[in-house]
Subunit: 461 residues, 3 copies
C-alpha cells in the first residue's frame, strides 16, 4: 500500500493545517451523546468521506444499557441580582452541565451553589462536566467567575429538551480484498474540547480519505460514536459480526504536544499491539507502551470479555493526566498542526504494516541463494548497502512460512519498512513468495457474502 | 472466610504474648526424633487442638529408611577431677549430643575431648548437635566451659536408653467442603530451641484453632512431626493419598526479627507459591522469595520427585544463616510476641487467599454493565472510590471463567483483598457468579468417601 | 568421556606450542576456495588424522550455486617503470586478489590503479581481497607501497589458471555408539591469515585427535571446507542425511587474545547453545553470547531454513570487528599458543558435556534416600563437602526422567562437571540409573544401516 509514503510526498505543515482547520470548524458545536450536535458533526465529516449515519431510538435495549433520551439545547444562562448574565452558554458550551434537564427558576445564590462546578486549582478555566444517566442540571464556570458572584436572587434558564429521540452515530466502511476488518473508532460526543476528541475525529477522517482509492488487503470500518453508549450500541447491533475485526484502534487525544502512548489491547500481544510498539520504538524519540486496563475510552467495550477484540488505544498525552483535560483549556491552541500531522502519519504507518505483514516462503530454503549473480549482494567494488543486504539475509533465513515480516523485523532489529523492502526485492528476484495467503485474512470467505455493499452495519438500520 | 479479619479484631500484642507463653511452656522439654519429649510436646498441643497421635514401631520400613530406636534420657553430666559437675544436662538439654547412647565411664580429658562440641567463634553459646543414625555419644558445651577444663580424670554419665519403641507424630485433620487438602507441617523434634521450631509449633497450633469452626472450602491437615524421618514416615504411611494435598506450607523459624522468606515449592509456580509471593509483596516492607532447593526442612520430602507436592516453606530468618541457629542463643528471647503474631497473621492471610481464590464469570460479558444505575460507579457528586471502582472494572473485565481472582490481582496490581471485595460486591449485585466450581476442589469427589471421619491418616494406625 | 580431563593432565603450554607450530606449517600456503592450496592443506592435516578428501567437479550444481572453476597460481608481480618488482606474490600471497584471472600486460599507472587495493587507515598492512564469482584481477598492497608508485608504465603479470577442475574438501568421520552426529566445521580456504582460519583448522585437528580412541556416544564429523561454497556443496551432497547432525560447531578466529564469543544457532535454544553458554558462564572470566544472525561463517548454510541444524559458531574476537581481520596483520604472532590451547580446552569441555548430558532416573523417588548410611552425607564429624552433597541432592531431586544433567546444572547453579560427578557417584551407589536411553541418540537406529564404514559422505564420491 504505502499510505505513509503517500503522506511523505506532501507538505507536512499543509497536512497539519488542514487537520487543524477542520478541527476549528467542528470546535463550536455543542455535542453530547445524543442530539443535533453530533448530527451536525457527522454531517461535516460526511462532506469529506461517504459516512453512513445510524439513528437508534431512545429506549432501545443495548446489552445492559438502554439508549437514553435525546438531549438538545438552545440556550442557557444565569442572570445575577442586577439582571446581567453572569454565565452564558453563548460564550462557551462548556458552561452547561452536559445533558442538563430544562430549568427556568429564580433562586438565591445559596440554592444555586450546589449546581455550580469550578476548578479551584485553575481559577480561569471552565470545567467540562456531564450528567448523562442521573437527571440533573448545572453550570460550569471558572472559579474566578464564581468568586465574583454576590449574594442575591439569580435567574436560571436552561432551554434544553430531554425527550424520546435517537442516538446517532456514523460509520464508514471501505471494503478490501478480505472481509476481515480493521476498526478505527473515535468518540464524537464531546463539546468544545479540541484534543479530546476533535483530534481523533479529524485524524480518523483524513486517514479514511487517505485509504480510499487504494487496493486494500483488509476491509476498514471507521466509527464516529458517542463514547461508551455509542460503542455499546454499535456492538449490540453488530454482535454477531464484531469478531470480523482483526485489528483495531481507538483514537483519542492525539493532537497535543505530548509523546505518543499506545495502550495495549486486553489480549496484550495482538498483532496491533506488536505493530504499534514496533513503530513507536523505531520512529519516535520517546514514547510509552501502556498495559491494558479496563479504564479508558471505548477500548473498554471492544475489550470486554465477551468480545475481547484486539483493539488498542493510541494517544499522545493520556486522558486524565494533563491539567487541560476536560477543561476549557483543551482548546484549539492546545492542539497543533505539526502534532496532528504526525499522528496521522503514525496511523498511516500502522495501517501500512498491518497491510503488508505477511508470511513469506524462501523458494531456495536449502543454503543461501547466490545473491551475487542477481546483483543483490556486495561485489568487490560495489557500494555495500549493508543494512539492505543484511535485511535480505534475514528475510531469506526466516521466511519459512512461519515468521511474518514483523517477526523478522523484531528478531533482526531492522525497521519493518526495511524488511518489507527486502522482501519485495527478493520477491521480484523470484527468491520469495507469499506464504500466508492460506492463513491471512483473504481466504476467510465463509462470511464474505454478507460483507458486500458497504458492510454489515447496514443490516442494523 | 476471613481469618485475617478475625485476627485483626483482636489485640495483636495479646495474640503474640499468648503464642510466646505457649512457646515458653514447650521450651524446657528435651525433644528428639523419638521418645517422651515429643510425646509430651504433642500432649500439650492436644490441650489446644484435638490432635491425633500416631506411634510407628522401631524397625518399620519407610521408603529407603527405617524407623530408628526410641531414645529417652533421664540425666547426663560430666564430673571433673575434683568431683564437681562441669557439664550438666539439668542446666540445658542442649548439653547432650542428641540421641547419645548410654555411657558410664571414667576417662582422661584427652579421651573425652573428641566427644565434646563447642563453637569457638561464639565462646558463650552451647551448640546443638545430633547423631541420629550413627550411634555415638557426646556433650555440647560453651567454648569457655571447655577451655576451663583441666587435665585429669573425668567421670562421664549419660543415663539414656536407645531401645526398640516408637516414632511419634501428631496430626490434626479439619474436614472442609472438599477433600482437597491444605497441608501445614512443622518439625517438633528440636529440644530447647525457640525459633527452630517452637515458633512453627505455636503458630501452627494457633492457626488450627483459628480455622476450627469456620466453613472451610478446603480440608486442612496439620502435621507435627520429627524432622526428615517424621515426614518420610508420614508420606510412607499415606503414600496413596498424599496427592490430595493441593497446597502446603512448612513452617519453621518464624518467630525472630528477620524479614519473611518464602521458599518456593519444587513446582515453582504452584498456587501456594504465587499466593505467598503476592502477600509478601503487598503486605511486607521487605521480604524475599527464594527459589526451591533440595536443602531445607521437610519440603525436601514433600517435594521429592515421586511426590512433587506443591509445598513451600515459610520462614523469617533462613535456617543456617543466622548465628543463633542451632545454638543455645536460639532461646525464648530470640523470638518475640510481635513477630509471632505477625507470622500467624501472614499464615492466616495465605489461607484466606487460598480459600477465596476462585474463577468468576461476568454475567454481562458483552460490554461493561451499567454500574452507575447500581450505584457501583462514581456519580457527578459522589465520592469517587477510585481503587474500588477500578478493581470492579478489572474483575468484570477478566472474569471470563479463565482467570482466578489472584490472576486478576496480579494483572491489575491491586491487593487480593481489594479484588476479592470487588468480586463480592459484584456478586451481590448479580453481575458475577462463581465459575470455578467445576474446576476448584469441591467437585473432586472421587476420593471423598474415604475422607470421612477425621481423614485418611486414621487408616495408618 | 573426559576429554578435558585428558587435556588437563598435559602441559598446556606444550599443547599450545604444538598447535601454533602446526599453524606455522600451514601459514605459507596460498589457499583459495579451489585449487592446490587447499589440497596441500588437507594433505598436511591427513598426516595427523585419517581425513578423507572429496573432489567435486567444476560445474556441479549445488542448490542455487555451481561449483566454480579451479584456480591455481604460480607467480604474480608488478614491475615498475624502472623494471623493479614493486609488488611480488612471492613476498606474500595476500598481494594477489584471490581468484585473479591470468594477466600479462603493460599499462600506465592510471590504468593499473583500479586494480590495486589498500587500507589507507593502516598504511603498512596488506588487505585480503577476493573475487570468486566475478572474473577480475588485481593486487593488494600496503597503502605506503601504493603511495610510492611513480607515474609510468607498469608490467603486470599474474601467472594463474582458472579452468575446469575440482572443488576439494576434507571430511573425517568418527563413528560412535549412535548414528546421531556432532559436526565440527571450519573453513580452509584463506591464504596466509592465521586467526582466520588456521586457528580453526589446527584446533579442529587436535580435537579430532583427542577424540579418537575414546568410546563415543555420538558419531563425529569434522569438515574442512572452502567457506560458503564448500558448506553448500557438502550440504547438497548430503542433503538427506544432514539431519543426523544433532549438535554442531563452526570454529573460526579462535587463536587471538580476545574473549570468547559464542553465536547461537538459528534455533536459539538448542542443546549446543545451552551447553556453550553454560561453559562460558562457568569457565571464563568474561565472554559473550551472541544471538543468531544470518551474517557470519558457514553456520549461515547449516542454519538456512531448509536445514535449520543446531549449529553455532565459536569465536574469540568476532570476524569483522578487529582491525587485523582480513589483513596481513592477522599473522602468526596474532595467534598465541596459550589462546589456542584454551580454545581446544573449551571445545573439549563442550564435547564432554554433550556426551554426558543425559536424563537420569532417581530409583528412590519417594522422599530422599538415606545418604548417610551410604556415606554420601555429612556425618557429625565428617568433613562437609557442601557443594558435592548439595549437587547430589539436586540430582536426586530432579532426576525424574525429564531433566537432563544440564537442566539440573542450570537450575542448581552448579557447574555441569559437579553435577555429572554427583550423578556418577549416585549411580555407583545404586541410587540412579540412566533414563534417557530411550530418548537420547543411541536408539535412533532407523538410519543406522547406512552409517556404517566411515559415514555417509562416502556415498558422495
Amino acid at each position: 500500500m504505502g499510505l505513509r509514503k503517500e503522506l511523505d510526498q506532501k507538505d507536512p505543515l499543509a497536512i497539519g493545517q488542514e487537520l487543524h482547520q477542520f478541527a476549528a470548524q467542528l470546535y463550536p458545536i455543542c455535542r453530547s451523546i445524543t442530539g443535533n450536535g453530533i448530527r451536525q458533526t457527522l454531517a461535516m465529516i460526511q462532506k469529506r468521506i461517504p459516512l453512513q449515519t445510524f439513528e437508534v431510538p431512545t429506549g432501545t435495549a443495548v446489552f445492559d444499557w438502554t439508549v437514553p433520551k435525546e438531549w438538545n439545547i438552545r440556550d442557557a444562562y444565569i442572570k445575577g441580582p442586577g439582571g446581567k448574565k453572569v454565565v452564558d452558554f453563548q460564550d462557551s458550551n462548556l458552561h452547561i452541565l452536559n445533558y442538563s434537564a430544562p430549568v427556568r427558576a429564580t433562586m438565591p445564590l445559596s440554592a444555586l451553589r450546589p449546581h455550580l462546578f469550578t476548578i479551584p486549582e485553575k481559577p480561569d478555566w471552565i470545567p467540562y462536566r456531564t450528567s448523562y444517566y442521573v437527571e440533573d442540571w448545572g453550570f460550569c464556570l471558572s472559579h474566578n467567575q464564581m468568586l465574583a458572584l454576590e449574594d442575591g436572587e439569580y435567574q436560571v434558564v436552561i432551554d434544553s429538551t430531554l425527550e424520546d429521540g435517537h442516538l446517532t452515530y456514523g460509520e464508514y466502511f471501505l471494503p478490501g480484498r478480505s472481509t476481515d476488518e480493521i476498526l478505527i473508532s473515535c468518540h464524537a460526543c464531546h463539546p468544545s474540547l479540541a484534543n479530546d476528541n476533535l483530534s481523533g475525529l479529524t485524524v480518523a477522517t483524513s486517514l479514511a480519505q487517505l485509504l480510499s482509492g487504494n487496493d486494500l488487503r483488509y476491509s476498514y470500518r471507521f466509527l464516529f460514536l458517542p463514547g461508551t453508549i455509542g460503542a455499546i450500541t454499535w456492538l449490540a447491533l453488530n454482535r454477531e459480526t464484531a469478531g470480523w475485526v482483526r485489528h483495531g484502534l481507538v483514537l483519542t487525544c492525539i493532537g497535543d504536544k505530548g509523546q505518543f502512548h499506545y495502550k495495549k489491547s486486553r489480549q496484550g500481544s495482538a498483532e496491533i499491539d506488536r505493530v504499534a510498539a514496533h513503530l513507536l520504538r523505531h520512529t519516535c524519540e520517546s514514547s510509552e507502551i501502556l498495559e491494558f486496563s479496563p479504564s479508558g475510552y471505548d477500548e473498554r467495550q471492544y475489550c470486554s470479555p465477551g468480545f475481547n477484540l484486539p483493539v488498542g488505544c493510541l494517544m499522545r498525552s493520556v486522558w486524565g493526566t494533563f491539567p487541560e483535560y476536560h477543561t476549557s483549556a483543551d482548546n484549539l491552541s492546545f492542539i497543533q498542526p505539526k502534532q496532528l500531522a504526525e499522528s496521522l502519519g503514525l496511523c498511516a504507518a500502522i495501517l501500512d504494516v498491518l497491510e503488508e505483514n505477511q508470511r513469506y516462503q524462501n523458494l531456495n530454503p536449502y543454503c543461501e541463494p547466490q545473491l551475487g549473480r542477481r546483483n543483490l549482494y556486495r561485489s568487490t567494488r560495489g557500494v555495500a548497502l549493508e543494512a539492505q543486504i543484511n535485511a535480505r539475509l534475514w528475510v531469506l533465513n526466516l521466511s519459512d512460512g512461519e515468521h511474518t515480516l514483523l517477526d523478522i523485523a523484531e528478531r533482526s532489529g531492522h525497521p519493518f519498512s526495511v524488511i518489507h523492502e527486502a522482501a519485495q526485492t527478493l520477491r521480484e528476484s523470484g527468491l520469495l513468495s507469499i506464504a500466508s495467503e492460506n492463513r491471512g485474512p483473504q481466504e476467510k470467505t465463509a462470511h464474505s457474502a454478507s460483507a458486500e455493499s458497504c458492510g454489515r452495519s447496514s443490516r442494523s438500520r
